[in-house]
């Protein structure tokens, strides 16, 4: 009985140790996924958001992108190469037109085609309400390329994949 008790305690210590090691030294995949979590937090907006928070979020959005980021959106004038300042300004202007926003990412699949490059396929869902009171609900499949620059994973390309082609 005593032996079983000690075995149980030892197993518990090992499990706690493994969990702590995973959180202290996250894998590259977890680091990449964390960038998406940050992007989701920065883009999302609550109805009580004040001007100061908005400016802070805009700055944070910019810091998630590479100096030049390529956007590929089918049938949209948005496609092209943008600086992080341009992306930050564009995101700020888009956020200001909404009273509430919620960006969520699903089914993230991370691959590392070469060293320092991560390719992520995912589903992005943006819901919310425009300042005029209209409901928004947009879902798209995205393919993103992130580059590791100075130990940080930065978005360098975002492509919208066409699921239904009219």
């Amino acid at each position: 009985m005593v032996k079983t008790k000690y075995l149980f305690i030892a197993a518990l210590i090992v499990i706690v140790g493994i969990v702590m090691a995973i959180s202290a030294f996250p894998s590259e995949e977890r680091r990449v996924k964390k960038r998406f979590r940050l992007l989701s937090e920065c883009v999302s907006k609550s109805t009580e958001e004040n001007g100061l928070t908005m400016l802070q979020r805009m700055k944070e959005i910019g810091s998630l992108f590479d100096a030049q980021c390529e956007l590929k959106v089918p049938d949209q004038s948005l496609s092209g190469s943008y600086t992080r300042e341009e992306i930050s300004t564009y995101a700020g202007s888009a956020r200001s037109q909404a009273s509430q926003l919620d960006l969520k990412f699903y089914d993230l699949r991370v691959a590392f085609p070469e060293k320092g490059v991560a390719k992520v396929t995912l589903t992005a869902r943006l819901t919310g309400q425009s300042a005029a009171g209209e409901r928004m609900d947009e879902t798209r499949e995205l393919e993103c390329l992130l580059k590791k620059i100075e130990k940080k994973w930065l978005f360098s390309q975002i492509e919208v994949i066409e699921v239904l082609k009219k």
Partner: protein, 166 residues
């Protein structure tokens, strides 16, 4: 006394190896069945009204097209990057067929097709287009909204996840 003990045993069973094996196999079977074969989903949006209502709950049966191909008028689920977010749509045209909407009527290869599931009048116009190889053409049943606001079009057969159970 025996009944009381049996009731207690039912709600608070003794943790024996047999009990643990039984619980684990039930949990594993449920995880595999509901995670991969019969995926529960909730319906958001009104694009399939009145056949499927906003807020309804259903299951996606994944083995429907294991030995067969989708047919016209089938309702299918189309995936984005994974199975967390899917589109619920109706197949209206198959590969190689020419699809067209003329003043609120569906034409396949120039022949008008009856659609009993479309209950509300609509006035869509879409120029003729050919469905590519290994693709199907899907549309929602609710066409009361303008054609620009409705998410529909050609999808690869590889994106079909299954069919709703009811």
């Amino acid at each position: 006394m025996d009944v009381r003990r049996e009731i207690r045993q039912f709600f608070f069973p003794s943790i024996t190896p047999t009990f643990l094996i039984r619980v684990s196999s039930v949990a594993l079977s449920a995880y595999l069945f509901f995670g991969y074969l019969c995926i529960p989903f909730s319906i958001r949006g009104s694009s399939m009204e009145p056949t499927y209502h906003n807020g309804g709950v259903n299951f996606c049966w994944r083995l429907r097209y294991l030995f067969s191909e989708p047919k016209r008028h089938d309702v299918v689920t189309v995936r984005f990057a994974g199975s967390k977010v899917m589109l619920l749509k109706r197949v209206i045209a198959l590969e190689g067929e020419q699809v067209e909407f003329r003043n609120g009527k569906l034409f396949i290869n120039g022949r008008e097709i009856e659609e009993p599931y479309v209950r509300w009048p609509y006035h869509w116009n879409l120029s003729p287009r050919q469905v590519e190889k290994d693709c199907i053409y899907v549309v929602g049943d609710n066409r009361s909204m303008p054609i620009e606001s409705h998410h529909f079009g050609q999808a690869s057969k590889r994106r079909i996840m299954g069919v709703p159970l009811w």
